[in-house]
């Protein structure tokens, strides 16, 4: 066991929360609304249930191989060569996630705050900050995640103010869009909920009994699902359905219309806090991806690979620069994420059960 890389279960909760909550936060109600209309909040709840199912699968896989990351499990189960290919795919997938973070963040800032600043400057700033943190060991990254979670409270309160002017009639009629549409809406949430897959990689570094780990990821999932539901309900109740259709970042628009005695344009405050969330998402993916690359090269430490992975992510992010390619990229990442992150672990688990392969000689504590 890599001793100084272990984290506590509490840190696991926040690590997963911070990986999940990030870029999609601002536009989630809009993307969901496009499909499931006023029932968007049911979609996100259902998405939460799906996440829970996958988390249980991950957890089962992790309990069969308590000290191995997904990268180390793969070669064991499906052979060395195929395993290596899959490790590469996984690492690349996580790199893609981190460049998705960069793309959305860069474009959002360009639209909302820094209209004239070249997008590469904004992206490079995040990349440098990300590399600085990403090079540290897991424990420090987790500490950072725990600390910045305080800011979620600020976001919570800011959004809570919107309920003053909310009109809950906009949420009605309830569940009238049809369950199939609602389910389809859940799929739209993929980009927002991705991040719990971090457990595949950091699961083995968590201290404590296996049951506690399941509890931790469940708490994280519950929190994120409820937080998202809260955001979706707030924006659904604040904007009329016709308005929702034309506002791509409802959360920001909602906060923008508040003004306090001392601060106006609250959205700037919100964006500043949101950027910290984005950084944690980026760094957490960066860490996971570079751990994969390190495993690929048989190196024990991930630090060396962080700048390279971040460089690749930045290159991809700089290359994709117009709305059409972003759309395509999002679709690609979402679908690839579905296959690799969600279904492959299930297959691995089945293989593991069928071939009765599991890690031996390690006490499952």
């Amino acid at each position: 066991m890599k001793s100084e890389h272990t984290i506590t279960q509490g840190q696991l909760v926040f690590y997963i929360i911070q990986t999940q909550i990030g870029i999609a936060l601002l536009s989630l109600p809009y993307t969901l609304f496009k499909v499931s209309k006023q029932d968007a909040w049911i979609s996100i709840l259902i998405a939460g249930i799906f996440v829970q199912i996958f988390l249980v699968i991950f957890w089962l896989l992790n309990s069969r191989f308590p000290t191995l990351t997904i990268y180390e499990i793969l070669p064991k189960l499906i052979g060395k060569i195929l395993g290596k290919v899959m490790v590469f795919l996984y690492a690349f997938q996580f790199t893609l996630f981190s460049s998705a973070v960069l793309i959305f963040y860069g474009h959002l800032l360009k639209i909302w705050v820094l209209e004239n600043t070249p997008i590469f400057v904004v992206i490079l700033l995040l990349v440098f900050t990300g590399v600085y943190l990403g090079k540290q060991n897991l424990r420090i990254i987790a500490r950072f995640s725990v600390f910045v979670s305080f800011f979620l409270l600020v976001l919570f309160v800011l959004v809570a103010l919107s309920f003053k002017d909310a009109n809950f009639l906009y949420l009605l009629p309830m569940a009238k869009t049809g369950w199939f549409t609602i389910l389809k809406g859940s799929k739209e949430a993929t980009l927002a909920i991705l991040g719990f897959d971090a457990y595949l990689v950091i699961g083995p570094f968590v201290q404590g009994p296996a049951k506690g780990k399941l509890k931790a990821v469940t708490i994280a999932n519950l929190f994120v699902t409820l937080f998202y539901t809260y955001l979706v309900v707030a924006s659904l109740a604040y904007f009329s359905p016709e308005e929702m259709k034309i506002i791509p970042e409802p959360i920001l628009y909602l906060i923008k219309s508040f003004s306090f005695g001392v601060v106006e344009r609250t959205d700037l405050v919100f964006i500043s806090i949101w950027m910290v969330m984005v950084t944690t998402s980026f760094v957490n993916y960066l860490y996971i991806a570079s751990t994969g690359v390190a495993t690929l090269f048989g190196q024990p430490s991930h630090s060396k690979f962080v700048p390279y992975v971040a460089g690749v992510a930045a290159l991809i992010a700089l290359f994709i620069d117009n709305r059409e390619t972003i759309k395509f990229f999002t679709k690609f990442v979402t679908n690839a994420g579905m296959v690799l992150v969600l279904f492959l672990p299930l297959i691995l688990l089945l293989i593991s059960y069928l071939t009765r392969k599991k890690e031996t000689g390690v006490k499952n504590y």
Partner: protein, 375 residues
Amino acid sequence: MKGLKYLLVLLCLLFLSGCWDQNPLKDSSLAMASSSDLRSDGKLLYAASFPRSTQGGKGGSQQQIVEIVSATANTPREAQMKIDSKISGTFDSSKLRVLLIGEALAKQDINLFLDVLYRNPKTALSARPAVVEGMAIDLINLKLIGGEEISKYLINSMQSLQDLTIVNHENIESIFAKMLDPGQDFLIPYIKLDKNKSRASVKGLAMFHGNKYSGKHLTVDQSIMYHLMENEKGKMARFTKKVISSPRPSMNNYITVNVKKMKRKLKVEVKKSGEINAHIHLNLKMDVIEYPHNRLASKEEIPKLNEMLSKELTKEAKTVIKKIQEANCDGLGIGRRIIAFYPNRWKKLNWEVDYPKIQIIPSVHVEIISHGITD
């Protein structure tokens, strides 16, 4: 060492990058109020007021002067660009507090000229729109006592009227939601210039249908009633009603009451026949604030007054309903309720045509609960 290196790189990045988005306060001209009018030739007449201060030197008081600049153009953005070339500093609409819309323009699609504000991330969405009788530019050109800036004057007066339940707190964000919703409409303050053109006063609420001004407005008393029916009350809601029919006009014949507490019930029901009925029931607990008769100690007086006031106010409410239905302005959001509770019925409705036809039945029940420190 590594930390330092990163910090250095970060700083270089920041430094070398320059400041593309710099937007210094001192180089900008802040428009606090704007007026938009439709000219007879179909072009837009746009004006904005810029408060400026002159440096009075050390210790000297700074003097506020207001500069009003106008331009004619096809779109608001074009007008802003024209104004920009006329003023020192860059035109900035992010601090806009009041949007004055001329009557003629309001009757067109107001979304067309609000769009520029919704699209810009810097706009203050808390700006208040208002319809001006006649030309809005006359109002923005108003010379006020002490050189007061027009937006300050209007905002202050609107805030006090909000306390009196005459004006609501609609801003351009909240009307946007209602404008786009088929089941809701909005009302915004209706301002009129006085005859001698020295003051402006709010004359009630302008009723909109969708994104167009219907050309009709509620009076001040009706606005209070409308707000009560909308379940919104400021600090006070006062009515002065004639309760004693005497042939001689006298102050004695009137009572002034203030609504202390209120309860509203709005029920929309769709009958099997498809007929739509809306019931609005208002339960008002009142405080008598002016009644020169001093007869409130007697037991019969208060129930009598209650009954009379209930009748008077129900009548008032009916007038309001009639007016908003005539204007085809669904300010109470009845359509929204049908969408929410009877989605199937809604699909068959043509709300544009059907709304004026539905039955809205108001009833007001008044209960006097206190009468100041005298009987």
